[in-house]
């Protein structure tokens, strides 16, 4: 309890910028004494959640060790989420991502196009009523192809990022915990993999394994975990000297338990921020693969493959084969980067408050 708080019975005023009750709803303002009384059964009473959330958000750092780490943490995450959703650019980024997921996965259900059989009689047609964005050099409807191409881009992007994150998190946690020679060897290996430009590795592997969504995700995911592993290792190195980790160890927690229960959850914020950047990078990478002619095998569509002939399309004046799909690519990548930046800022705020 800090001295600046009014004595019991006094109205409690939240600092500006913190929680504000939704408009139109008169939230009961609990007195400090009330909220202290409720401290004990925070999680048990779903009612009056707003009333509870506020004192915890403010008192977090002062409640002392017996105040319960879980609540402080939870309020930290909530704080980060709130910070995230108050960022306008983050909302825009998230909105763009949701829009593209809907467009690519739900759109084809309403906008029926044939993306498997070529139509030599209708190639390179300019946009018209039948084909909203015209047709490409195989006679495929460009708008429909953007949808199915977007499916593969998003699938590969997210799957590769997820895989890289899982591998990197485990690798980094093990390296940071092991310390000493093991750590040095493991991290030198990361240095080696970081030194070879990823595009080189991926292109070389794509000469042999490139046919499917799965194989491209695997290729990218298996070679882009270096950055998350470094991030997690750094977090683990700072976390493992913290008191709560020492306490867990003294109480007889096993190494596995330390990693899974204490270190990884606490290092999660850096990992989550990095995922969004990994998705963006992976989407750019498969686009580059497709452009260079090592994309998915016919007839699976991808945005990069669609741009593979774009230099001819540009010189022939077939703008609809270049700018719509390129614009989609830039928008999705930009949205991922926006969300990532906003998440980083949000977690920064959370860490400052903690």
């Amino acid at each position: 309890m800090t001295e600046s708080d009014p004595p019991s019975g006094g109205d409690y005023k939240p600092p500006p910028g913190d929680f504000e009750p939704p408009e139109g709803e008169v939230a009961p303002r609990p007195s400090v004494a009330d909220s202290i009384g409720e401290l004990g059964d925070t999680m048990m009473s779903p009612a009056g959640q707003f009333g509870l959330q506020r004192p915890f958000g403010d008192l977090g750092p002062e409640t002392g060790p017996e105040g319960g780490e879980v609540q402080i943490n939870a309020s930290g995450w909530r704080l980060a989420l709130r910070e995230f959703f108050s960022n306008r650019l983050a909302i825009v980024g998230l909105g763009v991502l949701v829009f593209f997921v809907l467009l690519c996965f739900v759109g084809p259900l309403f906008y029926h196009t044939n993306q498997t059989v070529t139509n030599p009689l209708a190639t390179d047609a300019a946009p018209n009523a039948g084909h909203l964005l015209g047709t490409d050099d195989n006679g495929f409807d460009e708008f429909g192809r953007i949808m199915v191409g977007g499916q593969t881009a998003l699938e590969i992007g997210f799957f590769a990022a997820f895989m890289a994150t899982v591998i990197g998190t485990l690798y980094g946690a093990i390296s940071g915990l092991a310390g000493g020679l093991v750590d040095a060897v493991l991290m030198r290996f990361v240095d080696v993999l970081l030194s070879i430009p990823l595009l080189f590795i991926v292109l070389v592997l794509a000469t042999r394994y490139s046919a499917t969504v799965l194989s491209q995700s695997l290729i990218i995911g298996l070679f882009s975990w270096q950055v998350p592993s470094r991030l997690v290792r750094g977090e683990v190195l700072t976390l493992r000297v913290r008191d709560f980790v020492a306490a867990a160890r003294i109480m007889g927690g096993t190494q596995t338990r330390l990693v899974v229960r204490h270190l990884i959850p606490n290092a999660l914020s850096v990992v989550i921020v990095n995922i969004t950047f990994l998705v963006a990078d992976s989407i750019l990478l498969i686009a580059a693969l497709g452009f260079l002619g090592f994309g998915l095998s016919y007839p699976i569509a991808s945005w990069g493959d669609m741009l593979g002939n774009a230099d001819n399309a540009v010189t022939s004046g077939y703008w609809w084969l270049v700018y719509p799909v390129g614009g989609c690519l830039v928008l999705v990548v930009m949205a991922c980067n926006l969300v990532g930046d906003a998440l980083r800022d949000a977690f920064d705020v959370r860490l400052r408050r903690r």
Binding site: P197, L199, V204, L205, A310, G326, V330
Partner: protein, 316 residues
Amino acid sequence: MTGYIVRRCIAAVIIAIGVAAVSYALLSFTGGSPAVAALGTRATKYTVAIWNKQHGYDHPLVVQIVDYIWNLAQFKFGYSYRQGQSVGALLNENAGRTAYLSGAALVLALVIAIPLGIAQAVKRNSIGDYVATAATFTLYSMPAFFLGLILIQIFALDLHLVPAFVPDSITTTWQAVIHPLQLALPILTLAGLTVAGFSRYMRSSALDVLAQDYIRLARAKGLSERMVLTRHLLRNACLPIITLIGLSIPGLLAGNIITEALFNYPGLGLLFYDALQSLDYPVLLAYTVIGGLLTVVGNLIADIAVTVADPRIRLD
């Protein structure tokens, strides 16, 4: 200081050896032996096996890797059976043009990014800052080839200022240097991508410096704003750029492949791209290793340069 540099160099050598080993393992995993390239697609299994035995490709992977690194140390990069030339000669022939393209792009990127980042930091949260941030953020999210295509559309097809693709007449490095207009688009593409990363760092680095006490002191003692910016801000804010140049090498190398393939500019990137299509493994291996080594050396030089330039940094 000397101790740090020596330790850093030893680490770099170890990483360099690792780069060669991992690249070799990767290539042998992908296909590796150039037997088919040497003997033709109609070679029987039997002749391929004999060829592999004659050229050491039947040894265990570790032995092959050690052999390869030993050859590398003597600057032997192998022989391209597809092109009928030693890989060293091929690399040597193309390196100058790629170095020129990358160097020009890097210099252009610095010339744009440093003043831009500082101007953004000084006039932070102004309209200009927002516009510049939006522009660099868009560039940052843009695939290299799409940026190149847009530049082709604007400067070559609409404005007719420069040729859309690098003409075949550009065959030597010297010709590339004396025809800046023919190379304007590839250089601009590569520079645009680099600017995107640099200016963001430059802006935040300049913001950090602006908050320092010595800037306040410089203003307090009555220095003109111009002097504050050029004498105190610029030099300190540029320190992270040294590291950033080192870190930008992998991006430049990857950008080279895409830009050279798009604009048909004969350099190492195009050599690599052609080797990918003809499965010319020795060339692929050599350029992958060189790409890794350039990155290692670049980071090493950047690390040492930073400690020399900024005595406050002690990386022990």
